[in-house]
Symmetry: C2
Subunit: 221 residues, 2 copies
Amino acid sequence: MISQTEENYLKALFILANENGETGVNELSKFLGIKMPTVTSMMKSLADKNLVRYITYKPVILTVTGKKEAASIIRKHRLTEMYLVEKMGFGWDEVHEIAEQVEHVKSNALFDKMDEALDFPKFDPHGAPIPDKNGKIDFPDQRKLSECKVGETIQLSGVIHSSDVFLKFLNSKNLKLGTILTVQLIEAFDGTRELSYDERTAEILSEIACEKLLVQNLKHI
Amino acid sequence: MISQTEENYLKALFILANENGETGVNELSKFLGIKMPTVTSMMKSLADKNLVRYITYKPVILTVTGKKEAASIIRKHRLTEMYLVEKMGFGWDEVHEIAEQVEHVKSNALFDKMDEALDFPKFDPHGAPIPDKNGKIDFPDQRKLSECKVGETIQLSGVIHSSDVFLKFLNSKNLKLGTILTVQLIEAFDGTRELSYDERTAEILSEIACEKLLVQNLKHI
DNA sequence: ATATAAAGTTAGATATCACTAACAAAATTA
DNA sequence: TAATTTTGTTAGTGATATCTAACTTTATAT
């Protein structure tokens, strides 16, 4: 049996994994807000349970089993977020904390029912992909808004590490997933962007904000 | 902050409380499946937090705060059960385990939304009363089916400590909350009952089963 | 009224998950 | 390459929540 605490470590490892699928202990420690020695000892215990591959002083890698468990938790989290927004009337800025708790509920039936009620969604309310029952994720072809050039017209498709403060900020600017944006100008000295969308012709967004927004090319049907 | 474990003790104390609102350590221990010494030490710690009144060798009593906390958890549990049955298509025999976990979610908003979506229900799918936001419970005028005399016609209104096995058994007999029953016969030697309801004229139920069923007098409108 | 049974407590052990302090290895920079 | 910084580990501590073994108190029965 995997504890709630262990599940949180696995989820973090899944989210933080870079190209090689590796994560440093320090990175994990900062992400979880747990001190490094605690993380080190947890890595040993997860390695004993065959959920991670761990050699002292080397970065940590999820095993196949660990990856599957992690994907399952992320699936539960994202389905819950989507259910709360679509079926219960919550705002996208209100669901993270609740999903953080509901994701640990041991009942496949519950999440399968959510999945069905939502007609098997591929993305959560923040545009993050939802793993299917087998742990497979359909990564969309997204890049950061901060990487777009002047003149590009793209569609807002995701939000990174969405804190509720940031999401409320987006609400105040009327920026939603699906909004079609054109980059009008990039301020050379601080990277501030001027964007147009809807009826707004010159909305200003900081570079920091643009790094947290994911966009897709428009789909020509 | 009250831990999940502590919440389970409070809930148990609320449910087990007799006339005086007291519960013995042994009774609690058996109910929770936790050994007595563990229960004793938890009672000390809950007393330190002012959630119970506890004197060694005496039964335990919930304080006003403790009672309020307990009622809140029971409210969450029963609202969840009702939501799962009414809004998500689960059977009444499938929801206890899930609610047992969801009840610990820290978010009043979640349960208030359920409450609203269900139009502020007074009872859960097993006929147990749902405390309101202030912890008040509307106890219905119920007695056990085993206490009814021959010839009485009453309405099934609740099920006690509903294990899924027992609920599946009721399903198989087509017994539901609201079913109108007449006691046709009480077998003197073992208390077996013969009941009529729907088109069934002589359904047999053991005394043990009848002790787990709660009934109300018919409401003459 | 004493013996026995039931209920309850104390003491000491264990597992999990967190911490700090001190040290060691690896990476970076001068 | 040597010094410094960053990263990571070890050792030891503490809180929580569980257990068993041994003992005590209260209740029950003969």
